[in-house]
Assembly symmetry: C2
Homo-oligomer: 381 residues x 2
């Protein structure tokens, strides 16, 4: 059924094709050292850049104005009239090219609960594993909730984040009422809204399952229906049921590879906490950023840029992969990225919250010049 | 596929059959007057009573002790060593008869966003409707998150809630460390855990859709797999895609009726904010609680208890239904309940947080005596 849906999805109608699948890396959007702590700056920046990438091909005319309130505001958050008005305006950016899919990692959400209990090893007869499964899902779905909220809501206090002002689809200058509960907002504040029509989709609940840790079943028809309705699906790495092990962890990178195979996006972007793939741990002084990696039909890689001195490029990468493993799961990223690139889909791995990530999200990446920092993985065909 | 799964579900194996589907009414678990406000007492009480109902047939032996922490605790919540140890212990109550399904309403979550934007009327071309769809889902899924958390987590400060101590599966007495950030806990606190292995399942994300507001597709296979794995699925009323209207609202009561038809539970419980169905608005002095309603094969109702003076019972109920409509959607409840009762499944409608709701959750309901307050709707066969 997912396959049929994917065929349908591959139709040439541009309004139906997926433009980009974006991975918001756990290392980028959370503070990994701190239990369940979001990296607010990186998340805000990623949301703003996503909005701008979606607006690119739809800058014609001012968006419809609809008075409303920022319904995505959390209980207890202080009201901001600018955002309240602007959020719905942002939603009017539904002329936006919203054919993006967002998948995020867990970072400091879920990882502790999962590793502490051994959910990835399976065995639901164990009290600890079952407790860990429930706890892991509570943690990762709460992160998903926050990311959907951040994509949909207005962003306040943009003064604190000049980048966002720079890329904001529109800016409202407003004087907030004296005595607002948010001291930071006293005086003049600049506000605008992302207003991305995002909808959370939790893989476990949607019926994604594994068999011996390999993806066994997925549910992409609802993802496709949501895209057709103009929504941006937001998935995440999750604890799932496993046919043989009872349960395990399904990583966001595997979800992205599967969706790329089915939905043939124009390009895939991995936003992480380093500039890309290096030939050794980036903390080492002589670490070299690998700007372009080609994958041939047999899945063999060769480093096109830069030309490294060592003879065996693959070995070079493998070494770096192994040593990167503790710094954001770069290994899975590269392996899954290679599978995607073999399909003829370009993969961009770059650092979140930079001009380079904005260019990657727009698909505006060139390795001919030195001004884009990141790694492109593409097919040699 | 859902149908096949349902057949499988109907197998006589008791570990596979669903014992009870519970509706946590929005009017009961939220403060309807207040935007996005949870009725903490009713929610805590419902979780404790669910745990006790699940424990009934499994009181043999002390639960396995596993040291752990209350992973369901929110960021910022103060740690409680008693709960930390006890939560995992609670999870050990996975010898619990967990074959329950929980469905909750929205109450003060989502209703405002949905009605303000007209999501139920459809039309996603409208900016306001699309914004409302996203906002409604953010609101109802945040409530779902809190309910899953409440079912899974330990309940603290039980001193403040004697009922919970009374029904607690086990009680730990602990002296919290001096200087804990939670002032209320200084001195001796009683704590225990529900530890119900609950998993949130959002109908929209799972692929539940409607056609002209009537249920068109559902995804019950994952619900059944979760039940078989020993988890308690927690669903909710949601904004969903509609084949003709683009979108609408799918009520929790319709979800319960559909699940009851497919999974044949032993009984269905609606927990609400009144004692049951009355012959007129319960606020009126002479309002009579209808204790037993029979539904015949043609769907006609007759009030068995009490015997009312008026000639036409149905009319009496219809009047009360209409007048109840503003007080918690009693009309939908009764109409869906009648469909369920026709299948031979008893439906109990009663007030949350009372001895009557505990008895209903245990299936221990009799209308022969006056000591149970509530409405039983059953088949006349």
């Amino acid at each position: 059924m997912a396959e049929e849906a994917a065929q349908e999805q591959r139709s040439p109608d541009p309004t139906r094709s997926v433009r980009c699948i974006v991975k918001l890396g756990g290392a980028a959007i959370t503070n990994k050292g701190e239990l369940e702590s979001i990296n607010e700056n990186n998340l805000r920046s990623a949301c703003a850049q996503l909005r701008q990438a979606m607006s690119e091909s739809n800058s014609d005319g001012a968006p419809e104005k609809v008075l409303g309130m920022d319904w995505s505001r959390k209980r207890g958050d202080s009201a901001d009239p600018a955002v309240d008005a602007e959020w719905i305006t942002g939603m009017a950016g539904l002329g936006l090219e919203t054919n993006f899919i967002v998948v995020h990692g867990a970072g400091s959400f879920g990882h502790f609960q999962a590793s502490r209990s051994g959910v990835h090893k399976g065995g639901l007869h164990s009290t600890l594993v079952k407790a860990g499964f429930v706890a892991t899902r509570i943690s990762v779905t709460s992160l998903n909730q926050e990311i959907v909220r951040a994509l949909a809501r207005g962003i306040q206090n943009s003064l604190l984040c000049p980048l966002l002002c720079a890329v904001g689809p529109s800016i409202v200058i407003t004087r907030l009422p004296v005595g607002t509960s948010d001291e930071k907002n006293h005086g003049t504040a600049y506000s605008f809204a992302e207003g991305i029509p995002s909808v959370g989709m939790s893989p476990f609940a949607c019926g994604w399952t594994t068999k011996q840790r390999k993806l066994a079943s997925s549910n992409t028809s609802q993802i496709i229906q949501s895209l057709h309705a103009g929504f941006v699906p937001v998935l995440h790495g999750d604890a799932v049921l496993d046919e043989l092990l009872d349960c395990t962890i399904l990583s966001g990178d595997v979800i992205i590879r599967h969706l790329a195979q089915l939905l043939s996006p124009k390009y895939v972007v991995f936003l992480t906490d380093v500039h890309g793939v290096y030939d050794r741990p980036p903390t080492e002084p002589d670490a070299v950023l690998l700007r372009e990696i080609e994958v041939d039909e047999d899945g063999r890689w060769s480093i096109v840029k830069p030309v490294l001195l060592q003879g065996n490029n693959n070995k070079g990468v493998e070494i770096s992969v192994a040593s990167h493993d503790t710094t954001g799961g770069m290994e899975t990223k590269i392996l899954e990225a290679a599978v995607i690139a073999r399909l003829g889909i370009d993969v961009y791995i770059t650092k979140a919250g930079t001009d380079h990530s904005l260019r990657a999200l727009k698909g505006d990446v060139s390795t001919d010049t030195e001004d884009w920092l990141g790694t492109v993985i593409r097919s040699s065909r």
